[in-house]
């Protein structure tokens, strides 16, 4: 299977009054064509920064690309000029943002916002664009699309707005769709509708999806591959089955243990991960998870673990996986 986008050793920093925050520190992963890949992690782990870097949406300054490359169909995104990016954004890559309440322009009708990209990238005239937009609205499940076309965002509910966002991002039939927490702001019954919709659209249009989320449930239900991020680095990656059934990194294991299972007894206490994530202003040279890890060893404090192969496409960045580590039972 060919890859649509490959991130290699990406590093991004932010310059703040307090100093340089190393938000992303050498992240590598790839998205196979036609598949759904999830980046999972807690707030501040760098998952959204990675996603935004993939479309060059970070404003520099305060952000600074410190290194690495992002190969989209073999070309490095980070070397593109702003003008070249404009042709790619919305056209070859679409993005769905987290908050449907604030990411639509309240002063423009949704019809205008959907057709904007089509008229720019696909040279549609007004009439063609309107017909296409109405079809898209129908596709994403908005009733009475002809009337809805001329309405403003405030006339839509949260779930409906997220559908409009999806329609906008699909307007130019992008090869890659980056969805940054697309359902976090929505209710569970609406979340189920949106996830089902994304899946259906992927089957129909063959779009590759990069899903950014913190919800492991959403990941298990929709994704083929999982990339787990912590404090700006990838700690584990593999197929969804592998990650959920055979997690190797103590952080991934901790995440899985801290959510209640449906069969869990109430008397059983949850097993949270103690402490909180490290300060990325001055990251330690060792494993970022060292301070919170139950299985931390001496080597973890000062030496960053190498990415070790587990099996198949499953990799874990942990000294416990090192061939010379003692077997832990």
């Amino acid at each position: 299977m060919s890859t649509i986008i490959e991130v290699k050793n990406l590093a991004v920093s932010f310059h703040t009054y307090g100093g340089e925050v190393q938000a992303v520190r050498g992240v590598s992963f790839s998205v196979p064509r036609g598949s759904t890949v999830a980046i999972v992690g807690e707030s501040g782990c760098g998952k959204s920064v990675t996603a935004k870097a993939m479309m060059q949406l970070l404003s520099c300054p305060p952000a600074e690309y410190k290194g690495g490359e992002i190969l989209f169909n073999g070309e490095d995104i980070l070397q593109k000029t702003e003008r070249q990016m404009e042709r790619i954004r919305g056209n070859e890559m679409g993005m769905i943002f987290q908050d449907p309440m604030t990411s639509l322009n309240p002063t423009l009708t949704i019809g205008r916002q959907i057709t904007e990209g089509m008229m720019k990238h696909r040279a549609f005239n007004g009439k063609e664009a309107k017909e296409e937009a109405i079809q898209l609205l129908h596709l994403v499940g908005i009733p009475q699309p002809e009337q809805r076309f001329d309405q403003y965002p405030h006339e839509f509910s949260g779930g409906m707005r997220q559908r409009v966002m999806i329609a906008i991002s699909l307007a130019c039939q992008p090869e890659l769709l980056i969805a940054d927490e697309p359902t976090t702001a929505l209710d569970v019954t609406i979340q189920a509708q949106i996830l089902q919709l994304l899946k259906k659209l992927q089957e129909e249009m063959g779009t590759s999806i990069l899903l950014i989320t913190h919800d492991l449930g959403v990941v298990a239900e929709t994704c083929d591959y999982v990339v787990v991020m912590y404090a700006g680095v990838v700690v584990e990656s593999g197929t969804a089955e592998e990650i959920f059934a055979n997690a190797q990194h103590p952080y991934t294991k901790g995440l899985l243990q801290s959510i209640p299972r449906l069969d869990q007894q109430r008397a059983q206490a949850l097993r949270p991960i103690i402490g909180s994530p490290p300060d990325l202003m001055d990251p330690s040279p060792g494993c970022p998870f060292y301070a919170r890890c139950e299985q931390a060893m001496r080597i973890c404090k000062n030496h960053h673990p190498t990415l070790e192969h587990v099996n198949g496409e499953h990799y874990s960045s942990c000294w416990l996986r090192h061939p010379m580590a003692q077997v832990v039972r």
Binding site: G217, E241, R266
Partner: protein, 319 residues
Amino acid sequence: MTIDAQPFMQVKGLKKYYNVQNQTLKAVDNISLDISEGETVGLVGESGCGKSTVGRAMIRLNEPTGGELVFKGEDMLKMRGNRLKQLRREVQMIFQDPYASLNPRMAVEDIVAEGLDIHHLAKGKKRKERVLELLDLVGLDEEHRNRYPHEFSGGQRQRIGIARALAVNPKFIVCDEPISALDVSIQAQIVNLLKSLQQRMGLTYLFIAHDLSMVKYISDRILVMYLGNRIELASSEALHAKPLHPYTQALLSSIPIPDPNFKKRERIVVSGDVPSPLHPPSGCVFRTRCPRVMDKCQEKVPEWKEVQSNHFVACHLYE
């Protein structure tokens, strides 16, 4: 009659209506619920279903339009003056957003001690001792007391909010989505903290949430609401093992399960959106989205019935 025979907290036919553009918006319509001492009741529903309004009414943060609130045998809505002030010590609240619910210009010590100051419970050295005791109780360090909210992470802020609620030794705490703004690994920390505090101090909780898996884990009983109405009430085990109302069934089946092998299960996805509470559907409020809707649902409001022992539901399927 002794105090013990009384339910700890009784909600009888609670109503809260708002006037919106000369129309009546029924945010909460006829909710009844008994809570025993030491119990945790979960209150679940989608945004706008009135769950927070119920929680706020139960500690008199808003004045209900109708209905009764009986706290330890005493009519809460008749409390005035000193008795009301006394009530504020017995009932407390933990808020959803730990970023918005702490005053950014107050140091942690003053935030936690605000209740102590208002009720003249401790001064000087005793006040400091009490603050340190509370910080220790919620798992914060002594040195944190002179810091300001912006210096803390979300989970730590929520701990400050919990310490503030505990300062006046309350009996009943309304937890309004206390974990939904937190990261997964931190959520479990806060839930475990709330559980251990309950055991140690004999607290009673109303736990408001939209995350059913966490609610199941912390609650003894769960009440499901939809558009201001009660839908189903049962023990947390019964509700998850055998949900009766189609809405509860849909809610439960919408939770994404963190296990890829679960993918194949049959999922009930309800279509459409929650209708506007200004124009609720006639009959059963859920009928516009219900997969098992019948003719009867449009005409008649379903009765609240005990279908199995201690398992209540409002649905025409069970008549």
